[in-house]
C-alpha cells in the first residue's frame, strides 16, 4: 500500500426517483490523513463514497486518483478497485461466505493471486483488524461488532491505498468503537488512507484530521475545529455542535483554557484546565 490522493470534482449523482442527491460535490481525500465525511442520514454521504469507490457512476463530474481520471470501462474500474475499497455500513451485505477466513479470501482470490499469497494477505488483514482468533468461525455466529471488523478485513485484504468506511462505528458500543479506531490506526501505519462517514460529530472532532460536511447536495471541507464550530453550517447540515467545542469555547472565554486549538475530547479538556481550585470564590454563583 502507498498513499494516493483521491479527488472528486463537481459530482452530480443520484437515483432514479427525484432530484440528484449530490449536485456539484467536490472533495479531496488528503493522502495519509484521516478524513471524516459528516452529514445527516440521507444527506448523500453514502452516495459520495459510492462515487469515490467507482460503485456508482456520477451523471456529471469526475473522480481521479493522483490526477488520473477514473474511466468507467471494465479495465479502469478493475484497476480503481485495487486502489480504493469501500466497506458498506451493514456488514451482512459483505459477508457471504461460510467462514471468516473464506470470506476474507474472496477478494485476493479474485485478484488471481497464488494460494500462498492469498493466505498471507488473509492472515495480515485479520491481524490488522484484531480478529485473527475468529478465522475459523462461521460468519453468522459473530456479534455485530465482530462482523463489522471482519467486513473491513475483507476490504483490507485487497491492500487498497484508500479505504472508505461507511459508518464504521454506527451501532457499536464504546469498547467496540475503541477497538475499531485502534484497528484504523494500525491501517494508517500500514500506509492506507482512511476515510469514514459518520453523523457522530463528537467522534469526528476526536478522530479526524480533516472533515468534509455534506450539506445542500455539496461538500464543505476543512479543519474539524473550524467547520464543527460553524453553527450556521451545522444547522443547514442538520448536525449538532460537538460538546467539546461548545464547552471549550465557554471555558476559554472564562480564561480557563490555554491558547491554541480547543480540546477535542474530555481528556484534552481536563488536561487544559488548571490543576488547583480557583482562589477567587466570588466568581462562583451560589
Amino acid at each position: 500500500m502507498s498513499h494516493r490522493t483521491l479527488t472528486a470534482t463537481g459530482l452530480v449523482a443520484g437515483y432514479e426517483r427525484g432530484r440528484p442527491v449530490l449536485e456539484g460535490a467536490s472533495l479531496t481525500v488528503p493522502a495519509g490523513r484521516r478524513l471524516a465525511v459528516l452529514g445527516a442520514n440521507g444527506s448523500g454521504k453514502t452516495t459520495l463514497l459510492r462515487c469515490l469507490s467507482g460503485a456508482l457512476v456520477p451523471s456529471a463530474g469526475e473522480v481521479s486518483v493522483d490526477g488520473a481520471r477514473l474511466g468507467h470501462g471494465r479495465r479502469a474500474l478493475r484497476a480503481h478497485r485495487q486502489e480504493v475499497q469501500l466497506v458498506l455500513q451493514d456488514p451482512d451485505d459483505q459477508l457471504f461466505s461460510a467462514s471468516v477466513a473464506q470470506d476474507v479470501s474472496f477478494g485476493p482470490l479474485n485478484l488471481g493471486l497464488p494460494e500462498r499469497e492469498v493466505r498471507t494477505r488473509v492472515a495480515e488483514a485479520l491481524a490488522l483488524l484484531a480478529v485473527d482468533d475468529l478465522a475459523a468461525r462461521p460468519t453468522h455466529q459473530l456479534s455485530y461488532g465482530e462482523r463489522k471488523r471482519v467486513a473491513i478485513a475483507g476490504a483490507v485484504a485487497m491492500r487498497p491505498c484508500v479505504l472508505l468506511l461507511d459508518e464504521p462505528t454506527a451501532g457499536l458500543d464504546p469498547s467496540a468503537v475503541a477497538e475499531t479506531l485502534a484497528a484504523l490506526a494500525r491501517l494508517q501505519e500500514h500506509d492506507a488512507t482512511v476515510v469514514m462517514s459518520t453523523h457522530d460529530v463528537d467522534l469526528a472532532l476526536r478522530w479526524a484530521d480533516e472533515v468534509a460536511v455534506v450539506v445542500d447536495r455539496r461538500v464543505v471541507q476543512g479543519e474539524p475545529q473550524t467547520l464543527l464550530g460553524d453553527d450556521d453550517l451545522l444547522r443547514r447540515a442538520r448536525l449538532d455542535r460537538p460538546w467539546a467545542l461548545t464547552v471549550g469555547v465557554r471555558l476559554r472565554a472564562l480564561g480557563l483554557l490555554p491558547d491554541g486549538p480547543l480540546p477535542r475530547d474530555a481528556a484534552g479538556l481536563l488536561a487544559g484546565l488548571p490543576d488547583r481550585p480557583l482562589s477567587d470564590r466570588s466568581t462562583v454563583p451560589t
Binding site: R17, A55, L88, D92, D93, F96, S97, A155
Partner: protein, 245 residues
C-alpha cells in the same frame, strides 16, 4: 435505495386515491376490449386511451411508462416475427399475409400491455391485494402475497448491496468468478429471507399475531362519475371500432 420504477409511479400517481375496484374495472375493460376487438381500429383506440389516461389525468411520468413497455415490446417483436415466418419445403419465407398478421399481433399486444400498465402505474400492490380478498381469494393466500410484496423490496436491497460488495472485491471479473459470486449471492439472499421471516415472526407475535396478518385497508371510495366515464368510454371504443371496421 432504488425501488421499482412502476411501483414508485403507482404510489406517486394522481390516481392513487381512487378506489382500486374502479381502476380494475377500467383497466380490465380496456384489456378485454383490446383482446376481443379487431386490431384496427379497436386495439389502436385502446392503446391511445390507456396511454393518454396514464400520462394525462393519472400523471404517470412518460419516461417510466416508456421504459416499462420495453420488455413486452421486445417479446412482442420477436414473437410476432416468429409467428409470421413460414417454414416450408423450400426454406424460410414470409407467410402470405405476414404484414397484416404481424400488425394485428403487435396491435393487440401493445394495447393490452398499455392497459395493464395503466393499472400497474396507478395502483400499488397493497391496494390491489385487499381487492383480491373481496374476489374470494383465501385470506391466507392474500397474506402470503402481501408479505411477498413487502419482503421483495427488503431482499432487492440486500441483493443490490451484496452484489455491489462482491463487485468491489472483483467478484465479477471473469465468467467463472461471476458464476461463483452469483451462486453465493443467491444463497445469501435465501438465508436472509429465512432469517427475516423468523425475526418477523417474533416482531409480529408481540403485536398479537394469533391467526393471520389482518390489516385495515385504507378507505378509498368508489367514484360514480369515474365509473360512468369508464362505461361510456368503453362503449365508445366498441362502437367506433364497429363503425370503422
Amino acid at each position: 435505495m432504488t425501488g421499482l420504477a412502476v411501483d414508485d409511479a403507482a404510489w406517486a400517481s394522481a390516481w392513487r386515491r381512487r378506489a382500486p375496484g374502479d381502476k380494475v374495472l377500467l383497466c380490465g375493460g380496456l384489456v378485454v376490449t383490446a383482446l376481443v376487438l379487431p386490431a384496427w381500429p379497436g386495439s389502436a383506440l385502446v392503446a391511445v386511451v390507456a396511454v393518454a389516461l396514464a400520462l394525462g389525468p393519472a400523471r404517470v411520468p412518460a419516461r417510466t411508462f416508456a421504459r416499462a413497455v420495453r420488455w413486452p415490446l421486445a417479446f412482442v417483436a420477436v414473437g410476432a416475427v416468429t409467428a409470421v415466418v413460414e417454414v416450408g419445403g423450400d426454406g424460410v419465407g414470409w407467410a402470405p399475409d405476414a404484414a397484416a398478421h404481424a400488425g394485428s399481433l403487435v396491435g393487440h399486444a401493445v394495447a393490452g400491455s398499455a392497459a395493464v400498465l395503466l393499472l400497474a402505474t396507478t395502483t400499488p400492490m397493497s391496494d390491489l391485494l385487499p381487492a383480491l380478498r373481496r374476489a374470494r381469494v383465501p385470506a391466507a393466500v392474500v397474506e402470503v402475497a402481501s408479505v411477498t410484496y413487502r419482503l421483495l423490496f427488503v431482499l432487492l436491497d440486500s441483493l443490490r448491496a451484496v452484489r455491489e460488495a462482491q463487485a468491489a472485491r472483483m467478484g465479477y471479473s471473469s465468467l467463472r468468478r461471476s458464476y461463483r459470486s452469483s451462486g453465493a449471492l443467491a444463497a445469501a439472499v435465501l438465508t436472509r429471507s429465512w432469517d427475516r421471516a423468523r425475526r418477523m415472526q417474533e416482531g409480529l407475535a408481540g403485536r398479537g399475531m394469533d391467526t393471520g396478518l389482518r390489516v385495515l385497508p385504507e378507505v378509498l371510495p368508489s367514484s360514480r362519475p369515474f365509473l360512468a366515464a369508464t362505461a361510456a368510454g368503453l362503449t365508445t371504443i366498441v362502437a367506433t371500432s364497429a363503425v370503422l371496421a
